[in-house]
């Protein structure tokens, strides 16, 4: 069976949303930060449990508050990836507030919380950091090294099937 699912990446600017998409779709990474204006959409076809899944990935421009994002971009969203930067607390300080808003506005769309730039931590330091900041439910990724990038997209896709 072939299905299409719309996944939207949201979060502050500079957290690595575009890098995660590039790593996942194009297997590429650049150290240079290039701001995203508006939206950029990419597609990735994957096989999942005998299903042909077309992931339509909407990479939105960064915004500190989800409620300030253009609502038309969210239309028809099947699932969200809420991305933050593990090295910048300001990008996860209002995490709960943003998640609450998403759950209220899009109750049927599952949300995966992604802490990116894990490559900037040592293994033990990262565990300690997540515990200290009560972020145990977060999936940590590194767009730079590719760690967990496919996992995070595919775990969400599996939830959407």
């Amino acid at each position: 069976m072939e299905v299409s699912k719309k996944i939207v990446l949201i979060g502050h600017f500079g957290v690595g949303k575009t890098s995660l998409v590039r790593r996942y779709v194009d297997s590429a990474f650049s150290e240079d930060y290039l701001v995203t204006l508006g939206v950029q959409v990419k597609k990735k076809q994957i096989e999942l449990d005998d299903n042909q899944v077309n992931l339509i990935i909407w990479d939105l421009e960064g915004n500190a508050k989800v409620e300030n994002m253009r609502s038309s971009y969210m239309l028809g969203t099947d699932g969200f990836l809420y991305v933050f930067d593990l090295t910048r607390p300001i990008t996860f300080n209002n995490l709960n507030e943003n998640l609450e808003f998403i759950k209220k506005q899009y109750p049927k769309a599952p949300v995966k919380i992604v802490g990116n730039k894990a490559d900037l931590f040592d293994g033990n330091d990262l565990d300690e950091f997540l515990t200290k900041n009560k972020l145990e439910q977060v999936i940590t990724t590194s767009a730079k090294e590719g760690t967990n990038v496919a996992t995070v997209f595919e775990e969400l896709a599996r939830e959407l099937l």
Partner: protein, 504 residues
């Protein structure tokens, strides 16, 4: 060109209109921006349309999407896109605002980059603050731990000094005593640094004479100058006000550290302390203290680091003569008093430290309160010492016996002390805070709660030098708070003062 034709020309170049069936299959397109092949779909242009086309219906007849980045084989666009429902077909209108959006891109890029940089700096600052707090807490604990055994050692050294020693023994003891005093000084410095960083060092604002400060310095360093054969000169300008309002202890501490540092780094020549008026306005005056030497000098590369505590600790741990923590204290104390520190140096020629400190000047010279007539103290004061450490007890006992006190009882903890107080009367209680069973603070609370005992003077003797401990004890009414190591005369003075207070 007419306005109408200009407008239509502009629209033709910047706007594309495509009609499709409800599945997105193209039925007509003017191809103004993106050429579409016959029979193609909107979804073939960009995956953007894949999620959007199914959403358009008679119920949702207009959908607007600003700033959509589209990439075709030939071009990259930033478009505003409208999708409309019209009689069973779908109309897509693409507005090309690529130029407009690209022009705003660098502005947003710069703004975001600056914000990210500011966030990172904040994180670095937070980490540095946490590291500093951890260091201060470690220093504070370490200092408390070291203070107790040092107190015992210095106490017995002081007692031994006054016993019958031969010349060699007295000389050796002198070295032990000097070493002990040096350790004590370093511990006090460490504690001061941590107090300043934690914001618990409170400055005094009292009137004092700068002449007294300079006299103290001259007395303190004259022997050192003689021993090292270095000239030490203090030059105070005539316009320096005779009386100032500030914290003389901290001013003295700054100057002692600077002069001491100059002596340490000067093998021959001169150390000069020059005090002048920087500026004076109404009741305020800023004094400039300049300490210059003819010593080794400091390399340019080292200058920015000399006030750093880690650098100072590195120096302290180096095999050469320890530099102490003096300069770090100077810098911290000067900043605390809202002053400024400058340093100039030339290798082989010497160094000049310049400190500017603000003071207030009293309008009229304050009259000294008349001296009270000294009260004779009965030296058979009944003392109760509450301390569980055997060495501390012995030390106190020896000091008191030497001073002629003959009545002293011992209690190992607060509970035992309360039992003794119930049986006997005491004039002064010497209390350690760190006690088993019933600690010093709990003991004080119980003591103050009873009518019979609430007025017994208490002198606290403790290794806990933190301001918070002192504050807690003071709130429960104590006569004095002495931190270990203390001098025998300090203890005696505190006991006598407490006794006088009781007799009033």
């Amino acid at each position: 060109m007419s306005l109408k034709s200009f407008k239509s020309d502009l629209l033709e170049k910047r706007v594309q209109i495509i009609t499709t069936d409800m599945s997105g299959k193209v039925t007509a397109s003017d191809d103004a921006l993106i050429p579409l092949k016959k029979g193609s779909s909107l979804q073939d242009i960009d995956p953007f349309f894949e999620a959007i086309v199914p959403l358009v219906s008679a119920e949702a007849e207009l959908l607007e999407f600003p700033c959509v980045n589209l990439k075709t084989d030939e071009n990259e666009f930033v478009l505003d896109i409208e999708l409309r429902y019209g009689d069973g077909e779908l109309i897509a209108i693409l507005y090309d605002f690529s130029e407009h959006y690209r022009r705003s891109h660098p502005v947003v890029q710069e703004k975001n980059e600056n914000t990210i940089l500011a966030n990172q700096l904040l994180v670095e600052q937070t980490i540095a603050n946490e590291k500093e707090a951890l260091k201060n807490s470690f220093i504070s604990k370490l200092s408390h731990e070291l203070r107790k055994p040092l107190g015992n050692m210095m106490g017995f050294v002081n007692l031994l000094k006054d016993s019958n020693l031969n010349y060699d023994q007295a000389e050796m003891l002198k070295i032990v005593r000097q070493t002990g005093l040096h350790i004590e000084e370093l511990l006090n410095d460490l504690l001061d640094i941590s107090k300043i960083s934690q914001g618990t060092l409170n400055l005094k604002s009292v009137s004092f004479k700068m002449k007294d400060v300079t006299k103290h310095l001259k007395d303190m360093f004259s022997l050192k100058a003689k021993t090292k054969r270095i000239e030490f000169e203090v030059n105070m300008h005539d316009n320096v006000p005779a009386v100032l309002i500030g914290d003389p202890i901290r001013v003295k501490q700054i100057l002692i550290n600077l002069v001491d540092n100059a002596f340490k780094n000067t093998p021959k020549g001169k150390v000069l302390l020059d005090i002048s008026v920087d500026y004076s306005r109404a009741k305020k005056v800023s004094l400039r203290f300049s300490v210059s030497d003819t010593g080794y000098g400091i390399k340019d590369a080292e200058l920015p680091k000399i006030f750093d505590s880690y650098y100072q600790i590195d120096q302290l741990l180096s095999p050469t003569e320890g530099q102490g923590l003096g300069l770090k204290i100077v810098d911290d104390l000067v900043k605390l008093q809202k002053g400024k520190t400058k340093v100039k140096s030339k290798v082989g020629e010497g160094t000049q430290f310049e400190v500017s400190l603000p003071f207030e000047v009293p309008l009229r010279a304050e009259k000294k309160p008349p001296r009270k007539k000294a009260i004779d103290v009965d030296e058979r004061i009944r003392v109760l010492c509450v301390d569980d450490a055997e060495l501390d007890q012995m030390l106190i006992m020896k000091i008191l016996i030497n001073e002629g006190f003959i009545s002293m009882d011992l209690a190992l903890h607060g509970e035992m002390a309360l039992q003794l107080i119930d049986l006997k009367s005491y004039d002064v209680i010497l209390l350690d805070l760190d006690l088993p069973i019933l600690n010093g603070i709990e003991f004080l609370k119980r003591l103050r709660a009873e009518r019979k005992t609430k007025k017994i003077p208490v002198v606290v003797l403790t290794a806990m030098a933190g301001a918070e401990y002192q504050k807690e004890a003071e709130a429960l009414g104590i006569s004095a708070y002495l931190t270990k190591p203390y001098q025998p005369k300090e203890l005696v003075k505190a006991i006598k003062a407490a006794f006088k207070e009781k007799e009033k």
